[in-house]
Amino acid sequence: MYRYNDFDEAFVRNRVAEFREQVRRRIDGSLTEDEFKPLRLKNGLYLQLHAYMLRVAIPYGTLNSRQMRQLALIAERFDKGYGHFTTRQNIQFNWPRLKDVPDILELLADVEMHSIQTSGNCIRNVTADHFAGAAADEIEDPRPTAELVRQWSTDHPEFQYLPRKFKIAVSGSPNDRAVTKANDIGLRMVRNEAGEPGYEVIVGGGLGRTPMIGKTVREFLPKDDLLPYLEAILQVYNLSGRRDNKYKARIKILVHETGLDELKARIEDAFERQKRAFPGVPADLIRQIEEAFAPPEFENTQSLAYEQAQADNPAFRSFVETNVAEHRNPAYGIVTVSLKPIGGTPGDATAEQMRVLADLAERYGHDELRVSHEQNIILPHVRKADVPTVYAALGEAGLATANIGLLSDIIACPGMDYCSLATARSIPVAQAISKRFDELNLEREIGPLKIKISGCINACGHHHVGHIGILGLDKAGRENYQITLGGDGTESATIGERTGPGFDAEDIVPAIEAIIEAYLALREDASETFLEAYRRLGAEPFKQAIYGENGDKARAA
């Protein structure tokens, strides 16, 4: 893991001290809310529906056990005993009191964490593949790149007041687990014909009110050119991005309005200038970052415990099938811990659970943890021989739900249970769907399926790229839910299509059930996934299933 140097440490501590003073002045009345609000947002502190919310960055989703324990401590001491992991690889605390926030930031600084740039029109927390450094299909670990981008973007003087927020995601594998095509910039590691590693650079993806899939502006960018090229993109955006209309200010609109060729030309032009002035990243720094992400020392011990436990215990076998992914070292597995128990709140973990995860990472996982954009926690390097023990410990902590990639592994944003921007709730919909399908006992039969739910058009729940997406709206003072189908957030990214009119809260679960029933009846065989079936059949049969032949909305009885 990357460790702070003296400069990083002093920078974060100074920010905490500065904010402590600002909070003091707000409380004693010397700062008005208008003056204070931009300052608190610069430190990731929002005011939500029922309380303040502090958003803490977990750069590229990587943390160690010490950091996880500190998050547990904060959850316990300053919150209601839990934290919420988000689709941006952040953790949010939902109940801090204003006067306690400087103390929380101090505790975070003690473990090299902070809340800087988790809000505002700046470059936000850099996200990356949650299997980074572990995945069998990886070209290169994307985290050194993400760390370099983090260092470059933190407090970058030119990019603190962009037209809008700016999100960068990095993937190191051909299988995109970082939703690179729905970010302002997506970097996908590729190799050129000579076998050298570099990046495919994708620009202008984003969800929200105007969902768009990013477009490739460079098929191959040599690694050394990364920072001047990013600088060039950001300069073009900073200069030409729209500031007259908040809803048209993201770079995706610039790509759309300018046209790809013209924009590429502008970026290349700016890049030429940047490159001439760019002295290069000091070799020392590159080395230091790369060393920080050197793979742990894997033991190549073989053991039959893993296979034996699967043979002996069907529940463990199910867990392995869904929650353990292939590691680059065949003696290891990547264990994804589901934060989606049936009927639970997607992404929530209690302080106690965080401590269990920290202990397991320390004992069996080379002290590494990851947060995924799908709101789960990953133990990236677990010896297969230890997986049965880890599974047992997870079970005791209520963390052994074997549902990764299945129907109940739902992404749901906080929605109107917490979020002041929401137009409807999203968590209760996720809870109701997971409970209903648990009753039906159909989840494994249905196979891979991604349901994603947002409580408003901002789409933090990524509903546009859900195989089934659900968007909560306010229709004449009632919660109403619109369905999109066929979305995909991977390398074959697609925006889902709206089925038609939305459903009232009591009708949304039956509608999802009707869609699933249609899929089960229409699929070629059990190996055809929902997404494949949808792509083959189109929207029509699914629309009929939920609206009926005449387009009347039929409640599936």
Binding site: R26, A51, W95, R97, T345, R425, R478
Partner: protein, 100 residues
């Protein structure tokens, strides 16, 4: 024809705690919507809001919310958002439900 005026109350978030509060007849802030003072006309609502805004060292973001009057003569939320604000999150039993 102008839409019939719905009575309103002023609500905000407490500066330190962040939780939902309502402006009372004595120009204090209560966590109980039932104690909110009701403005029966547009003018009264504007005056009430101005008085609430003057207390920005105690609360954040005061605004007017439509209200119904219950059988007990106490204000009640109209829009579902305001209903949730009186209750706290619905995903599990914590927050306001657990505190009262």
């Amino acid at each position: 024809m102008a839409r019939e005026y719905k009575p309103r109350i002023v609500t905000a978030n407490d500066l330190i705690e962040g939780d939902v509060v309502y402006f009372t007849a004595s120009h204090n802030w209560s966590r109980d919507i039932g104690e909110a003072v009701v403005a029966w006309s547009r003018e009264a609502a504007e005056q009430l809001l101005a008085a609430a805004q003057a207390q920005e060292n105690r609360v954040v973001g005061p605004y007017l919310a439509e209200t119904d009057i219950g059988e007990d003569n106490r204000p009640q939320p109209v829009h579902f958002r305001e209903v949730f604000r009186t209750r706290g999150p619905s995903n599990y039993f914590h927050g306001k439900q657990a505190e009262t």
